[in-house]
Symmetry: C3
Subunit: 270 residues, 3 copies
Amino acid sequence: MREPYEILKKIKEKKPLVHHITNWVTIYDCANIVRAFGALPVMAHAVEEASEMTKIASTLVLNIGTLTPELVDTMIVAGRQANKKKIPVILDAVGAGATRLRTESTLKILRKIKVDVLKGNAGEIATIAGAEAEVKGVESMGVKGSIQEIACNLARKEKNVVVVTGKEDVITDGKRTYIVKNGHAMMGSIVGTGCMAASVIGAFCGVEKDYAKAAAAALSCFGIAGELAAKKAKGPGTFKEQFYDETYNLDEKKINKMMKIKFEISSERR
Amino acid sequence: MREPYEILKKIKEKKPLVHHITNWVTIYDCANIVRAFGALPVMAHAVEEASEMTKIASTLVLNIGTLTPELVDTMIVAGRQANKKKIPVILDAVGAGATRLRTESTLKILRKIKVDVLKGNAGEIATIAGAEAEVKGVESMGVKGSIQEIACNLARKEKNVVVVTGKEDVITDGKRTYIVKNGHAMMGSIVGTGCMAASVIGAFCGVEKDYAKAAAAALSCFGIAGELAAKKAKGPGTFKEQFYDETYNLDEKKINKMMKIKFEISSERR
Amino acid sequence: MREPYEILKKIKEKKPLVHHITNWVTIYDCANIVRAFGALPVMAHAVEEASEMTKIASTLVLNIGTLTPELVDTMIVAGRQANKKKIPVILDAVGAGATRLRTESTLKILRKIKVDVLKGNAGEIATIAGAEAEVKGVESMGVKGSIQEIACNLARKEKNVVVVTGKEDVITDGKRTYIVKNGHAMMGSIVGTGCMAASVIGAFCGVEKDYAKAAAAALSCFGIAGELAAKKAKGPGTFKEQFYDETYNLDEKKINKMMKIKFEISSERR
């Protein structure tokens, strides 16, 4: 599989515009990581302009990390424009399972628009799928059952790509499943890596129409940058700084040498 | 006094969830410093979920740095839940004294809910106590009278812990007073250390019910990390990066060697 | 021209309060860069306090990066106070041209209050001037005609200073034009340098009443810090950290040796 680097190269050439309606905690890092990968971020959450901004964008990234009902409504307005324009919609279901507002808003968005890539940690995805799970704030505390199977079934139901981030990332469209084993424990020591991952998936999906493949490539590159950064880091401060540098300096050789992506074809059970 | 490290150890074991309703300037750093100390941050400001998020949290941190009247109302809703659940409420009165909205909102919060730890710089705390003070934006420009005495009287009146940050931090419940002499001038060269200090106090109070002791331990550890970081920094950029690393790498030896906490029992004068 | 360092020195002495009503993406960096230059930042966007905060400030910086109509109304309220108090108003027209909301809000602000320094990239300024331009998100993709001429005419029409940032920065009041050639390509590799530049202009205008000269000095110092940082950086992570250090450590010798400011007197053609 040589695709991850090919997709990254395409991002740097085409500079897709990644429109975010996101949270106030990691908004800067979401923008900055998209920039470090070579794409152009824009953040616009006013309902008066969201749809118009989506119209000139290549991807739409929705993130409910600090949602309000009004912001969710704006996400739906922008999402409809993205669906109409056939550009990918990424939804990061931050904290689904922790409060009703988060769970119900996620389900509402899924009902009202086509979400092309639904991303969360194990607890969030299991919650959305209706399985038993515990989410503490924005952290997954555990899930009953196989998260890969849960994700697979959810992807079939939603007819989209489901991404579960964790020690190993699962990316599945219900038939094809990618397992990405890149990444480093240090990534969990800083706030925002989850949100940034969704933004990076957005950038990759902005230039590659096979969204499962694009998401797997995105998480592999993201994880490789994390592994390289961890080698030079002495804590979360130096880690984050190195992480941006390593993202910016990713090249064909590093990616092809370090990527760990396992591919599986699932049987059609439900 | 061996407690600071003992409390820190408990944070790393229990990973208390620290719910913030905070400002948009330092929201990322508040989350990230809580993470670096080993606790779990969550930010949720929608009135539709604030109370529910507080319900699963171990601490509530309120910060009026970029307040609106609606946000203050949400703080009160979440604060009532915290009071009911008997988890600590920390209030950082950012900019009290600079505008009427900030001063009056602080007083409103103090009237409507039980604030367990009220934190500010000298100008902010003096303003709240009704003493003469000048606050320029979010900086204290001077106070008339002894800030320790003002804080002491305020704590007695509010029956809580009052924390005044500055070159020396004063932590008092009106009887017992801790003076923390850790910290470094470089901490004032970056934006956000004040806000982060309140979040760290939140993390410490989440595992230690003696809030005065917890706040003193928090500020001592926070200051030690600052002192260690300053040794390696060449400016505010490298300082901040090192500050996160040093926070993350604090251990028993460093803390017990470097902590500077003076303890006083105040007489009952008013 | 010895002024840039003289103005910087005055900032460090007087510590002007720079009131921002700004966006949620770069709000921290705007505050932090103002601090690194020695001024005091404050962010206050509630309509209930905006005017009062402006009253105690030395400068008002408006930035429409994540605008809403309500926020624009608050900007106008604060702007009126600034005009009344005769402190400088800086407007960063982030994304003007990308959506109608951004273009029309910029024009509305310009109509309702006196903006002393209007800042944008080439596409944004050309859009406001009514010239042909393309803005993709918040990036300028090209302009038809000479941007210096466009800026010059706009400044004459608005009777203010127009600043166009880019590889070379143009600062003009319609008669006098400064071309600043400081800066480094790495500054474009991170999010927020544009917004930070506006905040820095705000700090410089807070102590120097010749706003064209102040803005030129600001962008020269800002660019010099970028050049120095780029020498030590290996990517956007290390660049940003070094950028803060170099800003903080700017001195007379570095500035006078490295500043590249060209001055022109324009003829009165329209």
